[in-house]
């Protein structure tokens, strides 16, 4: 392979963040904006996961009968993975609140255009 898996996933994360920021800034539809914001969060999560990845390593679960030194040298770094679990849930709940606000605003204003609703 020309680039290894870790670098490729970091680049994917970067691409997701760029796509998300583009959508959040330039698209006019509020639901599209929210989808873009979800992609930014996904990108940040993928970035953290790629930080903990170890090329050629094994999953960080200590199975019975595994040699301790082998596990210590080959296991992936589990700390970022533990953080991502929290981060995914936070992202989903933030998104749910935003969609709720959008539903209320649609009832009030009858539009989903950001330029109409947020432009004052």
């Amino acid at each position: 392979m020309i680039i290894d898996t870790q670098l490729a996933s970091l680049l994917t994360a970067g691409a997701l963040i760029v796509i998300g920021i583009f959508a959040a800034v330039f698209l006019d539809n509020l639901i599209k904006k929210v989808i873009g914001l979800a992609f930014i969060g996904d990108g940040a999560n993928l970035f953290l996961i790629a930080m903990g990845y170890k090329p050629g390593g094994i999953v960080y679960i200590y199975l019975p009968g595994m040699a301790r030194d082998f596990f210590a040298q080959n296991a992936a770094y589990p700390l970022p993975f533990a953080l991502v679990l929290t981060s995914i849930v936070i992202g989903a709940s933030t998104m749910a609140v935003m969609l709720g606000i959008i539903m209320v605003l649609y009832k009030k204003r009858g539009s989903l255009k950001a330029s109409e609703i947020l432009g004052e």
């Binding site: 639901i31 991502v84 679990l85 995914i88 959008i102």
Partner: protein, 77 residues
């Protein structure tokens, strides 16, 4: 090899979701990068995160967005 295909699916799926004019379609397509990310996490040695992401990214998030679309307007104007 399969990791690279998954990454490709993630990027293309996210762009496709944002290009739809029908918002319900966009909501459902949002699940594709979510699910692909879940598989990618499995290949990046994080099975527990993959489980969470599979549920949140491929089921909960699209359903939330679809609900919001159902309560508002389906076609982007």
């Amino acid at each position: 090899m399969i990791e690279y295909i998954l990454m490709f699916i993630v990027i293309v799926g996210s762009i496709l979701a944002l290009m739809q004019r029908d918002l319900l379609k966009a909501a459902i397509i949002t699940g594709i990068p979510g699910a692909a990310l879940a598989f990618l996490y499995q290949y990046l040695l994080a099975p527990d995160v993959a489980l969470t992401q599979a549920i949140v990214g491929s089921a909960i998030v699209p359903v939330f967005i679809a609900l919001a679309v159902y309560k508002t307007r389906r076609v982007e104007d």
